[in-house]
Symmetry: C2
Subunit: 148 residues, 2 copies
């Protein structure tokens, strides 16, 4: 599975740690930036890059991780795109539910509220929880695809 | 200011309490359902109703509150719509940031992770924090509008 990772300036430090953790855990990781600390960079640019890369990867299992100060802007931006189900998760319970119920394919993290250790616990659950595929969950995601 | 509130079955109890709190606090509230406890109801239906009502209200300050089990599905669904900036907030810090930085106009709450008291604290901050309108924030929200 390939994981595309992106952040704005607020998320650069946590992104670096997330990428190290994912590499240690055996995932193929692509860093979509930002790679310089520019306070004037904009989160929608990096959300768009990660989503575009996921779509171009020809890997149905590809996933994305997006980090900004609060994670909120990234979550708004990624969910603009059909087929993207972005979830801002702040603990393992949320990560499990986002995968199990909602088949989340983009994880958003808050650099200002999530420690390195917490991000590793969240990533571990998020990457290792399968979508439950209950008929009601599948129906809801189909309805989600028809919105907007 | 009018606040449109919606939930799936998992959020019905918390929605009732949120509406009581908003009424006590002097807001005009419209309940967009669900109003019966139907485990087969679907969160995208209620996200769509709230967003449609906000758009039809001719009130630029109108806001929405969406509640489901985790809040994640509602946040995915609401952010499918251009002009909607939905934020899943689990504490006051996140609520303040979502308004100050991202001009959030839909608050998503997790019925399974948020108590009645916590939801009141979150709502109070979310409703009383103004968008900071810093040029970089305004620019990012404009970029957000161009996505998807």
């Amino acid at each position: 599975m390939t994981i595309f990772v992106g952040s704005d300036h607020n998320g650069i430090e946590l992104k670096k740690e997330v990428i190290e953790y994912l590499n240690r855990s055996g995932y193929s990781v692509v860093d979509e930036g930002d790679n310089k600390l520019d306070p004037q960079d904009d989160f929608p640019v990096f959300a768009s890059r990660v989503v575009t890369a996921m779509r171009s990867s020809n890997d149905l299992d590809s996933k994305g991780v997006l980090i900004c100060g609060s994670g909120q802007g990234m979550c708004m931006a990624a969910n603009r795109f059909k087929g993207i189900r972005a979830s801002l998760c702040w603990n393992e319970k949320e990560a499990r539910s986002a995968r199990n119920d909602d088949d989340s394919n983009v994880l958003c993290l808050s650099a200002k509220s999530t420690t390195k250790k917490e991000s590793e616990l969240i990533l571990n659950i998020w990457l290792n929880t399968a979508f439950a595929k209950a008929p009601r969950f599948v129906r809801r995601l189909k309805e989600l695809d028809d919105l907007g």
